[in-house]
Amino acid sequence: MSDWRARNHPAWWAFLVHRLSGLLLAAFLPLHFWALAQALRGAERLDGFLRWTEQPVVKLAEVGLVLLLAAHLTGGLRLLMLEFLAWREWQKGLLAAAAGTSLAAALVFALNVV
């Protein structure tokens, strides 16, 4: 099936967000390890890197990262609850809770940053 019209419903969008956030987080990991590795190369390098992260764009990207993490985490919890707790008609509710929690987490982070 390849028709976007058939996929236009909340649970499918949730699936897409979960998959994309997972891929992007995986893509971010090497960068994360590289940053940690700077500490091994001496305090000077790490401090230089940390100064670089003070830029507004980087801060903005961090908020995005928190959003991705929160979306992936709550999305995963949502799936576990759907699949491993007794079935009930709470799909849309769980989805809304996951989306709301993720956005709130990103917002709290953003407010702390600025």
Partner: protein, 245 residues
């Protein structure tokens, strides 16, 4: 002019898939009528415009499951889908169901679909020797309720055509077969629970489902195959822990 007569003077522009796996949409103009269903539109084309159009239907009342097609991109039972609900702008695009080989025009080959019911052990298997007494099933028991929720399936393949995992993994048993297996796993009279659980717990079985819920979204009978699949996931994990899988 009332809304009704106004609607009846309009006409619909309808694109219908013609051909097999390769083919093209052909345009038809069909008179708009009150309470018209998508199946009425297809029937009008075949009876009045082009008798070579191939399509399937039988009951026209949502019981047989033979009339499913892709209507404006979404799999639906056409005999109970009103034009007014799916074509607000008077345009319809009608194609065969996705995820199934096309025989001709709007007719798909459902062999694979039903073979997968067999592979999922989707048939009742009585204990031998056959019991001489009626089984007593409490109507409000958990098992009976679980079976009840999935038992009205008409085998229309709408869920199967809507499932991405079927498209990605051609061996995947799919929502309808797994829903059927789930109803039988909740049937106390059935004697093949162990074998069936093994049949549905493999790579192409319940654990392949990504809980996208497209099947649940589209099932015209309001069944949630996802619920049954989640039930099978839990059952197989429990069996695995017990060492019974």
């Amino acid at each position: 002019m009332t809304r009704e007569t106004e609607a009846m003077t309009e006409s619909l522009s309808v694109s219908v898939w013609r051909g097999g796996a390769v083919g093209a949409f052909r345009e038809y103009s069909v008179p708009r009528r009150a309470s018209q269903t998508v199946l009425d539109v297809v029937t009008h084309i075949q009876r009045r415009i082009d008798p070579t159009l191939a399509y399937r239907f039988a009951c026209r009342v949502g019981m047989c499951g033979s009339c499913a097609m892709t209507v404006n991109g979404v799999a639906r039972w056409t005999c109970r889908t009103h034009v007014a609900r799916v074509a607000p702008h008077g345009r319809l695009e009608i194609a065969p169901l996705a995820n199934l080989p096309v025989i001709r025009d709007l007719v798909c080959d459902l062999d694979v679909f039903f073979e997968k019911w067999q592979r999922a052990r989707g048939r009742f298997e009585p204990s031998a020797p056959a019991s001489t007494d009626f089984a007593r099933i409490a109507p409000d028991s958990g098992e009976r309720r679980a079976a009840e929720a999935g038992i009205e399936c008409i085998g229309c393949a709408v869920c199967y055509a809507s499932c991405d995992v079927v498209a990605w993994n051609p061996a995947y048993l799919g929502p309808a077969a797994l829903n059927r297996a789930w109803t039988l796993m909740n049937d106390a009279r059935d004697a093949a629970h162990g074998a069936r659980l093994r049949a549905v717990a493999g790579d192409a079985g319940c654990h392949a489902c990504h809980t996208q819920l497209s099947c649940t979204e589209r099932c015209p009978k309001g069944i949630s195959p996802t619920a049954g699949i989640a039930g099978l996931k839990r059952m197989s994990v429990r069996a695995l822990i017990r060492g019974a899988l």
